[in-house]
Subunit: 367 residues, 4 copies
């Protein structure tokens, strides 16, 4: 029941703090016989890595992953795969002034009240740095799902602050620092971020993630519904404040005659459900949307208190992302992959490969 | 790893189907020595019960709960508390026509593909009826949390379809069939529902839930953050398509200078966080919002396919809620209570009762 | 993490007390599509039932099981299977005198210290009656394993007190009240028990259980080794004080040249391992042996204390088995079946149906 | 549900293989605020370390532990504690000849059948080397239990092959290579081992472990009884074939009038129960006994088969313990500490610190 373990059959146990010696994870339950090396994991880590553009934190770490176990002669053995990432750029002096005070919007206060002490270096375990092992584990899940089922995971930014980013061309996603599926809007996003940084402020973002080629039948009736587990995974990412599946909050004002996706011999006629009905995958795209709050660490001074309960003012000088949402895309993909992977194994455990009397209904285009 | 078990230390295992002999749950991990009888549980079940107004399903069942174990001479003994609710009104003839077809928006198709067979009577396990045991278990958690910490749980409807319901007066909630905290709007809601029912259609809703008096320090850094577990619980309720904590999706367009809640000696100056920072409770109100999709069972015919993959048209004649959101309020309260209860015990396990050097900061008013 | 749940994928949650309204369990994770009715479960319950001979407790209960959920038209649906057994013969007056005192060898003292209160009626939850739901759940596991893999489970008594019972003929097991695989010894066992009952005393027993036709490859390298989980299951049966796998304690004095089972093209040459190597099944018989302590409830007065810590003397007058080991055989079979079932599903989750390049090595005769 | 994770609230996730880059574990759930450094862990690792006498494997590794996370300024923070031990002496050439054959008594065959492939270097994950992280995690548990409750853990060897080792003087345990509580017998044990090594054979052993100062009330009624979890932990140690609690297999021939431990105002009058009644600790010593099989790797040639199923003969030349039982003592202590620790936290979660109306009954001397 380890709180730091994600998943029930594809179990990822995460460890580390922002400025400790190392961070990493242990993946237990990976099927044996899959080719795996660091080269399968590093690309996703590089997508999440800080210091890749002027719009993200300038902390500069290679985030080089080392596989410590579970792989023999290039193949997974079925035993735990431990992944290690050494912390190399730990300028803890940057954080000295926050030891005694609680930064608004941060976990300083809650960690201190929970544990009676806290590691103030770079936010300790509450740092977004802890998402690096999630991304690493997600890369392993992605690989297996792709090889076994052809499943793919694609995320992008759909809004930066008040700017909506129309979904136009997914091939653009890796070509700009915002993971925007839209080349035309990048200049505007750059200008927006520059102004924000100049103002010493930060802003939120909205991220979309899709899984395509998801097998039908994944998820439990309750409580471990596929969508419930997706919500758990997504809300567990740092700074996420909202999660939607399919039509999401728009479904509040929809009529049943509109929302319910009709079935045709060629597949579903729409996907308001977002790929899940009754907690179980339909085989359509999984459609997930996340709200990410603005970075809490901003240069502008904010009122706070110290450990004695006295009023004080907090200013933060460290290297921070002015929009944590920018680097959230590979994280959201990874977490979605972990959920699908876990349910793929759960399904196999209980149902094996159920034979059905009719041809599978083809999933069709997203909403 | 039972998918039908909710919680890690206050574990609720749910069983049953809409038209089987009985539904119920087993609660394992309840602290010993708490006074408990059916009278503590029945009121919440009655709030969720069908047939209480013309706006909800006319299925008429008393949903009488029986405690089968775990209580001796009126006190919990610390051993599993089994709760049983017999199904009494099972008009399965109503559902005969759907055995061979898949109702759009329902779990018919996914259950069939997952398991290779399904119980078509009243939706089987995918029925909203399965929320009754959740409500029963939630009542036990609410009682313990209230006695131990003074925690309370309050939910209401904040939107019915396109009608926003302003939060005005919580004492009104039990006085109208919509759980609306607003007496003035009830007539309009009644008219709206009557028109909808006449049209044979259904609509979505938005529900708010608040927990007040939540201890500080509940939740794990990752992955079992308090907000992640809330999202899991809420998205696991039938028909929920979106979950927000605190500012939710509004935080996308917020600046960090606005979103981060300042701390003062008297407490937090705002609650955009919704009572959770870094996955751990701040002691402020937990602020949770849910999007509930429109009922999938509507009288209007919808295109679908049968098990042979041939096109057909589905009409549903059973007794259904035209807005499943109406009865969702006590369910959302119950699930929130189960999450808080579980984390209260988890906190006690790891941290005991941590003594802190300053007076607790008073939680203040919600956003 | 419910303490009352057994298994990770085939999860059995047990509830009830000896003299409460009912006992039972919820099985979550059973594969769908298996034919199942009460008639598949009742025979094993009848084997465990009290009152079947003069050598076991005279409490007389039919232990009639009712399936409450998870079965539709005679087939498992993949959703939780709730099993209910009403308590019908609850002479709680028999137990009134023990409310204030702690019976030696019983859980009275530990329950009271743990929970601060206890249900004294018939031992409450510590009663051997709680093994009835285990037997019921085990019957479901046995059926699936037999249909899927041809696995069978056979238990017998191998020692009653100081009398060893040679393993001669397993067809005799159901023909005598001792589950003895040996017709010639029954008369001696009857006389032994009669003398014991006359003396108001009780005695221990040794039980053997075998699983045959176990698939190769079940079990995790660590910590959830197949043998570790068997030990957990067996030591969790009431009154068990020791567990052996294969050669067990005899292996202490063995040489490696003798203990290690040689492999031949036709199978293993011996089975000192008891069917498990490195925590993983070999495909040979699982060989398990249990030590069961003498019943603690005896007529002879014993020194004890009361809740005030004052000395007192305890006499027990209820209806008790003079040898709890007699009825332990079906319980041990059931628990072994639950372990194998759980690992069969775990194996399928991670490894699917691994194809191996050589013909499977035939398991051969037991030690 | 990770098979490689031990414990429910004090969760230890183990990773690594004998000849991979590193082994280690992640401890999640450790209470915050405890002083902890490598110096608290290393001594137990050194007790388990190979190469310390001529009677154990000559593999020479320092087994230096590094704390990677979860400790800040010398105190546990409540977040996961990752422990890393680099493998330094990996002479894998020693093992080349076993890639294609299955060593009798080893896990070669079962790993290969389970996973379809295996890491043959030093036994891979089935190596006794994997107990080093268990010992490291156990040291953390021991420290917390000692500080919180004064609990101590002591193990010793009680039989080496057919030689019984009388329990005389526990201060002798660290003074001889056998963990024998008896100075007078050491010379005989040395001679016995020398002869065995000369003969190229191996032998089993019997280990005793005791926990003293265990709080009353630890353990769940079922299935996670304290003794069931102890059995799981002990049987999960490499080479263990039998586990006893208290009187163990001797209870088979005992009478109830003898076995049931009487209670007196000064404590229990005996401890046949071994410190557990009804699955819950009595506050007396936990009395645990293990049977350890002879090392499977012996120099004498043994018949086996290769992967093609053809007969072959296996000779092992690596560096092996002629009695794996010798180094098992610190491992058994560690696993017992992990079980007690986990249940101490579980108890606190559910029951807090129950106040009882009478003075605690003093535990008294062991059997």
């Amino acid at each position: 029941m380890s709180g730091s373990t994600f998943g029930h059959l594809f179990c990822v146990t995460n460890f580390g703090e922002s400025h400790g010696p190392a961070i990493g994870c242990v993946i237990d339950g990976c099927p044996p016989g899959m080719a795996l090396s660091e080269a399968d994991i590093q690309p996703d880590l590089d997508r999440r890595r800080p210091g890749t553009s002027r719009h993200v934190t300038q902390r500069n770490e290679p985030d080089q992953v080392e596989i410590l176990s579970g792989v023999y002669e290039g193949l997974t053995t079925g035993t735990p795969i431990a992944l290690l990432i050494r912390n190399t750029d730990q300028r803890s002096k940057d954080y000295g002034n926050i030891l005694d005070t609680f930064r608004p919007g941060h976990a300083d206060y809650t960690y201190w009240r929970k544990y009676g002490l806290r590691d103030p270096r770079g936010g300790g375990r509450s740092s977004a740095r802890m998402t690096a092992p999630m991304v690493a584990a997600g890369a392993v899940a992605k690989k297996w799902l792709h090889e076994a089922h052809g499943t793919t995971f694609t995320g992008w930014m759909s809004a930066l602050g008040e700017i909506d980013i129309p979904h136009e061309d997914e091939t653009q996603i890796p070509l700009n620092p915002f993971f925007a599926p839209n080349a035309g809007i990048v200049e505007r996003l750059e200008a927006y971020m520059d102004a924000l940084r100049k103002a010493g402020d930060s802003v939120g973002a909205r991220i979309e993630v899709r899984a395509r080629g998801v097998p039908v039948g994944l998820g439990e009736p309750l409580y471990d519904k596929l969508d419930a587990d997706i919500a758990h995974a997504m809300m567990g990412i740092n700074a996420v404040k909202g999660v939607e599946i399919g039509a999401g909050f728009a479904s509040v004002a929809q009529r049943g005659s509109e929302h319910g996706d009709g079935l045709t011999p060629a597949g579903f006629a729409s996907n308001h459900a977002g790929g899940v009905l009754g907690g179980i995958s339909t085989g359509q795209e999984l459609v997930v949307s996340l709200a990410i709050k603005p970075t809490s660490s901003i240069r502008s001074p904010k009122p706070s208190i110290n450990r004695a309960g006295e009023p004080t003012v907090v200013e933060t000088f460290g290297r921070h992302d002015p929009c944590v949402g920018i680097r959230a895309t590979p994280i959201a993909e990874a977490m979605l992959a972990l959920v699908v992977m876990d349910h793929a194994l759960r399904h196999r455990a209980q149902c094996g490969d159920v034979q059905l009397p009719i041809a599978p209904i083809a999933p069709i285009a997203p909403i």
